[in-house]
């Protein structure tokens, strides 16, 4: 139905579990419609595999709208594929041409062990938030919403950081497997707002410590994370985190 069809060769990482040896397998699809999303192309592959009595390729997804952050894979060496500001679920096959070979690997990081095929365990992110990525306000104890004005500039800045979808592409793409952009974004979101002030010191110290405990690498300022972030979070989040960390250490007020 509309749109031209193409042949696509796929080389996909298959791995049965965290400890299992992985390997590439190659497949060819010859009815790939340009209007398909990338994940729909994988759906078609899976239907084909199931018909052939083989095991489908496992990958994470949920919203398929670029907001839930479930999807995450590395396509021809780029997290979420070739298009900037686009999660892989929002990537369409019209970005490829007939005859292309596409190599797909899971996000690789010690802190994200492979569960199966392209599915990885990102629970480390939850634990980083758990360490301090919140405002400790009990249900029911909040003051009237408009008693706390927030200047538009800071509200907007905080928002830019708050849009993180937690997909882990930053970690996947970083040559060091650093989670600094993810961690920095949450710290910057909350620390930019008046609501975040009472806990700002503890937040940055605890979250940075947890990030390290999880086995993520250091940040070497490659800024690759910003380039692959589907919502374009800037590495200034990382600078904010460092600044806050220093303040927490040296500022007595």
């Amino acid at each position: 139905m509309g749109g031209s069809n193409m042949t696509i060769h796929l080389k996909i990482w298959r791995q049965e579990g965290p400890e299992a040896e992985g390997r590439f397998e190659t497949y060819t699809l010859d009815q790939v419609n340009e209007h398909m999303s990338f994940l729909e192309m994988l759906d078609v592959l899976n239907e084909q595999l199931v018909t052939e009595g083989k095991l489908p390729v496992e990958f994470d997804y949920d919203c398929r709208e670029g907001i839930c952050g479930s999807c995450n894979m590395v396509i021809n060496g780029k997290a979420h594929g070739p298009k900037r500001l686009t999660a892989v679920c929002q990537l369409h096959m019209r970005n490829y041409s007939d005859g292309d070979t596409i190599v797909i690997e899971p996000a690789r990081a010690a802190a994200f062990p492979v569960i199966r095929d392209l599915v990885v365990d990102r629970s480390a992110f939850d634990r980083i938030i758990e360490a301090g990525g919140y405002v400790s306000v009990k249900t029911g104890s909040a003051p009237e919403a408009n008693t706390l004005p927030v200047d538009q500039f800071n509200a907007n800045k905080a928002f830019d950081y708050a849009t993180c979808i937690g997909c882990g592409a930053c970690v996947a793409a970083c040559p060091n497997s650093s989670a600094s952009l993810f961690t920095g974004a949450k710290i910057a979101h909350l620390n930019k707002l008046p609501q975040g002030q009472p806990e700002r010191k503890n937040r940055v110290l605890a979250m940075v410590e947890q990030m390290e405990k999880e086995g993520f690498g250091d940040c070497s300022n490659f800024a690759e994370c910003e380039a692959v972030c589907p919502v374009g979070i800037s590495i200034s989040a990382i600078a904010e985190m460092r600044r806050d960390y220093m303040k927490a250490m040296f500022d007595d007020n």
Partner: protein, 639 residues
């Protein structure tokens, strides 16, 4: 089955307070002794889990996704309503209540809706205190907009990502309580059954989606926050993991399912482009403020839309509804799109789309002005379709969006199984036959932050809940049943894939239990669903095994449940001989296509009791009569 809504007596305005004054309280040291299982981490589940844990209960929280933050609520765009009246345009709790009752076409419970409007303001306070970055004015104070045709500006929003920001707020509150050791967090666990002991909900059975292990969990109460069932249509705007399984299994254990036929269909989604389509993307309703909806008058007109002259275009909404035009409510817009495409005037390769044209708006206001308003949406459209909406009219079509039906609950949000509470989209409670824009987020958070925490205390304090071990017979039976069902699916070893079955089921539902329904179609649908279900169990092919991560297996048992729910939806639509809200029966409309409600006979909640399944679904209808003491019932008109 007894359906007691437990609505407190007295004036509408003070029912909730009166109830709070009268319910049982549980001392803090006693709360610590009790365990609550919260299933789902969307707005309803995350807010309930966090709030209950803050009160001192021990909570276990489950979700399907790898993180609580990814629940379907994350995708909500437009905003959340509250009766703050910040813009000083005359909004009140009463007005929000009126609009919600009227929007629901008088098929919801007054007392519940009023309470929703009452707590709406607290939700905003709570979210702001958590650091949810709502839009603000230059003054630094909160901004509001008018949404979905409301006459007041009462919608709070966070760019086009309100659901995301609210969910992150609730998720973070939950993470805090995990840190405090009060929540045992169990992501990637899917609830497969409810365990009922001595008539009370005392536990659940889950499957670990990574290891495949069937696990048993016991508690003093279960809070089900598992979202809506729109995916019964296969294609919908819901996230792919949204499902009815948890709710349906509770239904099979005795919980009444209310109003299953009420499904909201959103008029402005990106149309299906081919068979491979896996989900539909919503385009904000605000586009209808400037876009004009039309189809070519000539059937099968394949000309480029820009070459079709004015007089050959059919601006059907403007012609049929001169006063509201393109801004008619969601259900009216959706229904009309179906009518024109059924008449063969649909456009595009599938014939299942209409144009939403910005040509005139661009001529009038300039491209820049339109870009400023809708730039993001236009980009998103172009990214998905490859077409440039500044030059070509957009193609849109309605898509299933929200399900008003769900498990029946009383005023305490407890189902008819004591100890089983249901919150958020999973219950039927507040939206009647149609939900207003920006009200689902409000309801999910109202339930989780401000209703369940009190009413659960009342239940636990008022009942003797001796500890139940997971070795109890009831757990064994439920766990075995779950394991057997999975085995059964894996052992069919047929040759049609799950997705193929689901797609076909979706087509039946869309064609016959979708935007407009009629007796003949519904009866056919029931037959078709039954025979497809039979084929499913004979011929489905589920790859792999149950002992590891296996997405096809997950989908297979969800689809199996959809096959049963689908029949109930058709039965419900068939029994409701009227048109109300999103439920349009062709037989019940005026000459010029206006819905006709029948308050005499159908002013009730249809609560279905599961009676068994053998070839056909056995279900018994119970009616909870709706009494309207405080509002006057009116027929809607948008002419």
């Amino acid at each position: 089955m007894k359906l007691d809504s437990k609505v407190p007596s007295g004036p509408l305005e003070s029912k909730w307070e009166k109830h709070l004054n009268e319910i049982n309280l549980l001392a803090p040291n006693n709360k610590r002794k009790h365990h609550v299982l919260v299933v789902g981490t969307g707005l309803a589940g995350a807010s309930a889990a966090a709030s209950l844990a803050e009160l001192g209960y021990n909570v276990t929280s489950f979700c399907i996704q790898d993180s609580a933050r990814r629940a379907h609520s994350i995708a909500a765009q437009g905003g959340i309503n509250a009766a703050k009246n910040y813009p000083n345009d005359g909004d009140t709790i009463r007005r929000l209540f009126n609009d919600t009752i009227k929007g629901g076409d008088y098929r919801s419970r007054e007392a519940n809706v009023y309470r929703l409007a009452q707590v709406s303001n607290e939700i905003i306070d709570q979210a702001v205190a958590q650091g949810v970055p709502f839009a603000r004015e230059y003054s630094g104070l909160l901004d509001n907009r008018s949404f979905g045709g409301a006459q007041v500006s009462r919608t709070f929003y966070a760019r086009g990502q309100t659901g995301q920001q609210l969910l992150l707020g609730a998720y973070q509150a939950m993470m805090r309580m995990i840190h405090a050791g009060k929540i045992d967090y169990q992501p990637r666990k899917e609830m497969l059954d409810l365990v009922v002991v001595d008539g009370k909900a005392r536990g659940i059975i889950t499957r670990d989606l990574v290891s495949g292990k069937i696990e048993r969990w016991s508690g003093d109460a279960v809070v089900l926050c598992t979202g809506g069932y729109g995916n019964v249509f296969y294609l919908s705007t819901n996230a792919k993991n949204s499902n009815v399984t948890a709710a349906w299994r509770c239904h099979k254990r005795g919980a009444a399912f209310a109003n299953p036929c009420y499904v909201q269909i959103h008029p402005t989604c990106i149309p299906v482009s081919g068979d491979y389509q896996s989900k539909l993307t919503l385009m904000s309703e605000s586009l209808r403020n400037d876009g004009r909806v039309w189809v070519p008058k000539k059937k099968g007109d394949e000309r480029n839309p820009n070459d079709i002259p004015e007089e050959e275009r059919y601006y059907y909404l403007e012609e049929r509804y001169p006063s509201f035009g393109n801004l008619v409510p969601r259900d009216v817009a959706s229904r009309n799109a179906k009518m024109v495409t059924d008449d063969g005037m649909g456009i595009g390769p599938t014939g299942r789309a209409v144009y939403l044209d910005f040509r005139d708006a661009i001529d009038r206001d300039g491209k820049e002005a339109i870009k400023a308003k809708y730039g993001n949406l236009f980009d998103m459209y172009e990214n998905i379709t490859g077409d440039n909406p500044y030059e070509q009219p957009m193609r849109i079509f309605p898509a299933v969006h929200y399900t008003m039906g769900g498990l029946w609950v009383d005023y305490n949000l407890m189902s008819n199984i004591p100890g089983l509470f249901v919150a958020g989209e999973a219950n039927f409670s507040d939206h009647g036959a149609n939900r207003l824009g920006a009200s689902a987020l409000m309801q999910g958070l109202a339930d989780g932050y401000f209703v369940i925490p009190y009413t659960i205390g009342d239940y636990i304090a008022g009942n003797d809940l001796a500890a139940v071990s997971t070795d109890d017979e009831a757990f064994g039976e439920a766990a075995d049943a779950s394991a057997k069902q999975l085995d059964k699916l894996l052992n069919v070893k047929g040759d049609r894939s799950v997705i193929d079955f689901h797609r076909e089921l979706g087509k039946i539902m869309w064609d016959k239990v979708g935007i407009a329904r009629n007796r003949e179609g519904l009866e056919q649908a029931i037959e078709e669903i039954r025979s497809l279900r039979e084929e499913f169990w004979k011929n489905v092919r589920v790859p792999g095994e149950a002992g590891y991560y296996n997405k096809y297996l997950e989908f297979a048992h969800r689809v199996a449940d959809y096959f049963e729910l689908a029949e109930l939806m058709a039965l419900d639509a068939l029994q409701r001989n009227e048109s109300c809200g999103c439920h349009l029966r062709d037989e019940y409309q005026t000459e010029d296509g206006e819905a006709v409600r029948n308050d005499e006979e159908f002013s009730f909640v249809a609560a279905w009791e599961y009676k068994g399944l053998n070839g056909k679904l056995e279900a018994e209808l119970h009616k909870e009569d709706l009494e309207f003491e405080f509002v006057e019932l009116k027929q809607r008109s948008y002419k």
